[in-house]
Symmetry: C2
Subunit: 421 residues, 2 copies
């Protein structure tokens, strides 16, 4: 099958005016890259039929597939479907299944359905419908006929929580339907190694590996490798994926914290659950950030009972049992204080693993400790230690970056401690 190209066209005056950030384009672009479909242009237009029409014509002059988001709402200015159907010379017709689903949606929410919402069930003739499990607007795909043979428009709703599941469940299989191959991926999650270091260690393997492909993605303090196999029907994807993944693990396994695990906090909650362990947190400069990330994960209550944000020395003493002498001699931002905080919160809570964070997130030096100095302590049966993190950032995002990286290091220490149980 020839290499296809796609353009992403996001429709919505709120995006154009900057009232919301366009996360849809990034999501779709990344998914298309995974499917081996090239993207050379992304654009945004407002809810204006004339400009939408021009943008659509331009996009189809450059690409085979145009994926739109937005403009499928119930109000009069939502005209994506009309404009795109018109481009393909199709009429809109009532789709009974979509109408039924929209009616059910309103019944469930105990809200009144208006005639405007019925408009959302009007779909282009001869289109493929993607039902919306998280809202009212169905999505659809129109495949061009005659002169428009080979052109495909895919329309998706604007809200990410509706668009993403629809893309995953409807659009991906649709895009792969004519393909005799399918893509199977695993994501390997690394912490504690930079992207450039990882790439230099794995350079040859990444260059030489065509099936599976190995692609790195960096986010603050972390790197992910997506290992993707392209397999024909009946072929075993794992037989292609596993040898490469083992090679990677041999080289950089010490930094690998999980496979297909989402993020550090999810890995933490999962591992503690598996092992029947609990963690307790004593946070100073992160002030609840580690606790917040752990409790982002549903089911965190099984592994996390107690976190103490001890911003003041008095709370460090009274609740965590840090000694006055330690605070006097070494200061609140010190290895010694971090050690006593971790041991203290473990004792208060009865958890198997105690974690502490104390440092200076800025913007001013305090107690003679530079901005970006953070001590992260762990206290557990087989593994008790204090790590020093130094973040060399002075820009306007420095405080957030320092706090985020410190919380990530704390999470990775929980995983290390849990591994010893």
């Amino acid at each position: 099958m020839k290499q296809r190209s796609a353009e992403i066209l996001c429709i919505g005056t709120e995006i154009l005016m900057g009232d919301i950030v366009n996360t849809n384009a990034a999501y779709i672009a990344k998914e298309l890259a995974g499917l081996g479909i090239n993207v050379y242009h992304q654009s945004v237009v407002g809810d204006n039929p004339e400009r939408l029409k021009q943008s659509l014509e331009l996009a189809f002059s450059r690409a085979d597939i145009v994926i739109t988001t937005g403009g499928l709402g119930p109000t009069y200015d939502d005209l994506s479907k009309e404009t795109i159907a018109d481009y393909f010379g199709r009429k809109l017709v009532m789709d009974e299944e979509s109408l039924h689903r929209i009616e059910c949606h309103f019944l469930r929410l105990n809200r009144v359905m208006t005639d405007n919402n019925k408009k959302q069930a009007m779909m282009p003739e001869r289109c493929i419908i993607f039902q919306n499990d998280n809202g009212t607007a169905p999505g659809c795909a129109i495949e061009g006929e005659g002169e428009q043979q080979g052109k495909t428009a895919i329309m998706l709703p604007g809200p990410p929580r509706e668009m993403r599941p629809m893309f995953e469940q409807g659009v991906k299989p649709f895009l792969m339907k004519d393909s005799d191959t399918r893509l199977v991926s695993h994501t390997m999650h690394f912490f504690g190694i930079g992207e450039s270091m990882l790439e230099s260690i794995l350079h040859d393997l990444m260059e030489e590996s065509l099936n599976p492909t190995v692609a790195p993605y960096a986010k603050t303090g972390e790197v992910q490798l997506r290992v993707t196999a392209r397999v024909k029907h009946g072929e075993d994807a794992e037989a292609i994926l596993q040898p490469t993944m083992h090679q990677i693990e041999e080289k950089v396994g010490e930094f690998l914290y999980g496979i297909d695990v989402g993020d550090l906090q999810t890995a933490v909650v999962r591992k503690l659950k598996e092992k029947g362990l609990h963690v307790a947190l004593a946070e100073s400069c992160t002030g609840g950030y580690v606790a917040k990330r752990i409790t982002d994960v549903s089911g965190a209550s099984e592994v996390f009972e107690c976190g103490i944000c001890s911003y003041s020395n008095r709370i460090k003493r009274e609740l965590l049992g840090v000694s006055q002498q330690t605070l006097d001699c070494f200061g609140a931002v010190s290895e010694e204080t971090a050690r006593e905080m971790a041991a203290g919160v473990r004792k208060v809570s009865g958890a198997e693993i105690g974690i502490s964070v104390t440092g200076n997130a800025g913007p001013e030096p305090s107690e003679g400790k530079d901005v970006g100095i953070v001590y992260i302590g762990v206290d557990s049966d087989a593994f008790s230690k204090v790590f020093l993190l130094q973040v060399n950032r002075r820009d306007q995002d420095a405080r957030e970056t320092i706090r985020y990286l410190a919380s990530s290091h704390a999470l990775s220490l929980i995983l290390k401690a849990a591994d010893r149980y």
Copy 2:
């Protein structure tokens, strides 16, 4: 002066591939709206000179001003400046001030400067340079001559922490330089009232008011009104702004939590500092989210000493002094438990204001309490109360939304309590 239009053209393969989300487009679009400059199109292209050239020509066929971000880096594939200078028939020449600043930047970081970095100081002839205080790449503006009279290209670096200050300090004054008017805005921050309710109460005022204009912006659980006056040199902006702001305050003042205050957590830290007050937090379902938001604000240590994340009943009892009887009879998610948690954490910490959050953030009902039920308690000398928040969301973002809204309500309660001191 005639109404000008602009297009935003973001350059970078990382954006095109979806490896990073394009927050620059939203930021610039919003700023341009504030300057009264219309935006009808945003686009993204990769680091490809040919496609960049085509996109630039297209953009100038539709708009007077084209603002680009990205492609100003030191590597060989960063070709924005070359391509855009070429479009205007300008050569690149070494700018000594930019070179000097780049050299200083590397000296400060104690890193070696490469010849590639020198390329970043090569600027188009006869351009206006915007110096970069947060990185190496200067930005610039080229004003077209001859046939290109009236066309302006503005090139900005890609990293938001470099681009935003440059926009604020360099680009805004540049865009307003030929204008005999300037814009002055205040932002009024509301909590506890929905956007549609606010709009319906203020509808006539918003429709009738042309100078100042009144524009609403909604974000989860909050609404902001931006009140903007357009004034000539020497005119007093406040004389135009204040009467309208007073009218708004008369109608919806009870929901107003601050003016030009940024966000709820910044308003909280500022107000507690002003009044010399302290807050302590007992968080169950928000698990550190309130503490995290307060400590996002630098200087939080002056007003926040102690937060306790009490996920388990044992911690609620032992650290916060919630009675076993209360937990047995009413459950952990109850008005009574919230009341005792708020009083308990206030007592432990010695703070003037104690705040508690206990609820069910999902995904499963617990103790017979539905997902989205949250009790938020406040304990202080003149104001002690428990509020019930019910969030009716079941989608995949429900947990985050419930926790975020609960933390916002907690922050607004701190403001209410501080007002009574």
